[in-house]
């Protein structure tokens, strides 16, 4: 399926389809007035299916984009100006994810107080996050985003 090119803005590609709506909510796209194209369940040779988001006239900060590593660590980002890709990059797991990931432990203080969660990736690879409060580990595939 072809998706119209954008003149200026940001393209997020290789989003796992099951994480598309997490990405939408983490970037607060539903509150934006910009023109946004969302492609869901596109065929992908590497991923099986993938999703793609194109946001016209919007550039994100590194902080906004890097938080996506909690749900879509292999996402590809393209910065578009005058129909040209002027920057292509991936996301980097921040040292600490603050207020993004919900702790799966119902007895964790973060699920019982009005406060922000804090997670760090465990040393080996970035596929496991650890709650800084209760020390519970959560695999990236199981991560749920704070509502």
């Amino acid at each position: 399926m072809m998706v119209a090119a954008i003149e200026n803005g940001t393209v997020l590609d290789h989003i796992p389809s099951e994480r598309l709506f997490d990405v939408v909510s983490m970037l607060h796209l539903e509150k934006m007035g910009n023109a946004i194209t969302i492609g869901f369940n596109f065929k992908s040779a590497v991923m099986g299916t993938k999703s793609i988001i194109k946001i016209a006239d919007k550039y994100f900060t590194d902080e906004e984009l890097n938080q996506l590593s909690a749900v879509a660590p292999n996402i590809t980002l393209c910065v578009i100006k005058d129909y040209e890709i002027i920057e292509k990059r991936t996301v980097v797991m921040p040292e600490e994810l603050v207020g993004i990931v919900q702790c799966p432990n119902p007895k964790c203080i973060t699920n019982n107080e009005p406060m922000k969660t804090r997670f760090r990736s465990v040393a080996q690879g970035n596929d496991i996050l650890r709650c800084s409060y209760c020390n519970r580990d959560v695999e990236l595939k199981d991560v749920r985003i704070v509502e």
Partner: protein, 314 residues
């Protein structure tokens, strides 16, 4: 000022642990002092724990502090919907240090982030219980003369047993070899085995619990297999006696071997073992007093030097 709270021992260096052991030794020599005269220690027990609370309150009282607090969360405003932060802020305006037991995991770290006074974690859910760990390490040092290169056998409930998790993490500086003896249902969780791998800590898992398995132990750390942890009560009945330490199982024990238990024990250690030189759990409980005296002083900024030069000894 740096927050001096004690949330976990996992981040403590080898030097810091040895320093706290030296301080506890001073308190063992002279437990009765006035070094905390004029100070107020709050003990907030959002979850009942009589023996931990009595140990902390005795530690504070024997150093001349005054103690305020609650032992029963039903009397607090938490039951009216007050947040932990608000309770901590309120008590911080009264006390110089807060000793807190809480049923939620991570509560101690959060309290230490919001409180203007130091927090001593007296247990937060199934997470950390550093004062127990400190007294365990003090006891291990006292009985073995060192913390280095020991064979530490952990027996019983290694899944929910907070004390074994904290001890495992704090011992990482001392090149221990851990032996985990537990039924499948209560095996050491993957997160702690991963921790061992991260820090190059050696461990062996066993299902058998007999004289041969424990013959190389320097420390035999027994824990209680709790009935309520089992979904299947038949399974509990099947395994409960398998982790009972019997006197005849000590026939091959090393002469320096000591049996520790965080107490209360129910049916993990035969009572006849109490009279053997291997039994050390009651001395271990007593060491809780000295370890907690050291921890309270440390978070208040009182140094080992202050304790050694203390002129308030009674």
């Amino acid at each position: 000022m740096k927050n001096r709270s004690l949330v976990t021992l996992a981040g403590h260096s080898r030097e810091k642990i040895e320093y706290l052991i030296r301080m506890a030794q001073e308190f063992e020599k002279h437990p009765n002092r006035r070094i905390l005269a004029g100070r107020v220690v709050a003990t907030l027990f959002f979850e009942p724990s009589t023996r931990t609370r009595l140990s902390f309150e005795t530690a504070a009282n024997r150093l001349g502090a005054r103690v305020i607090g609650f032992a029963d969360p039903k009397v607090t405003s938490g039951t009216k919907g007050e947040t932990l932060k608000d309770t901590i802020m309120m008590v911080s305006s009264y006390a110089d240090v807060i000793v807190m037991r809480h049923y939620l995991e991570g509560a101690a770290l959060y309290a230490s982030e919001v409180a203007p006074v130091p927090i001593v974690n007296a247990g937060d859910g199934a997470n950390q219980h550093p004062s127990q760990t400190m007294l365990d390490m003090y006891t291990i040092y006292q009985t073995q003369g060192t913390l280095d290169n020991l064979n530490i056998y952990m027996v019983g409930d290694l899944k929910y047993g907070r004390t074994v998790h904290s001890l495992l993490m704090a011992m990482r500086h001392f090149n221990p070899t851990f032996h985990f003896i537990a039924p499948d249902e209560l095996a050491m969780p993957a997160v702690y085995k991963r921790y061992c791998d991260e820090y190059g800590i050696k461990y062996v898992e066993h299902q058998d619990f007999d004289a041969d398995t424990i013959s190389d132990a320097d420390i035999l750390y027994m824990t209680r297999v709790q009935k309520e942890r089992f979904a299947d009560l038949d399974e509990y009945e099947r395994v409960k006696d398998r982790y009972l330490l019997k006197k005849d199982m000590l026939c091959k024990a090393r002469p320096n071997m000591k049996i520790l238990h965080p107490l209360p024990r129910v049916n993990e250690i035969e009572y006849t073992i109490d009279d053997t030189p291997y039994a050390y759990y009651f001395q271990q409980a007593q060491n809780g007093l000295y370890a907690r005296q050291a921890l309270i002083c440390d978070v208040l900024g009182i140094s080992l030097e202050d304790v050694m030069n203390d002129s308030t000894i009674l």
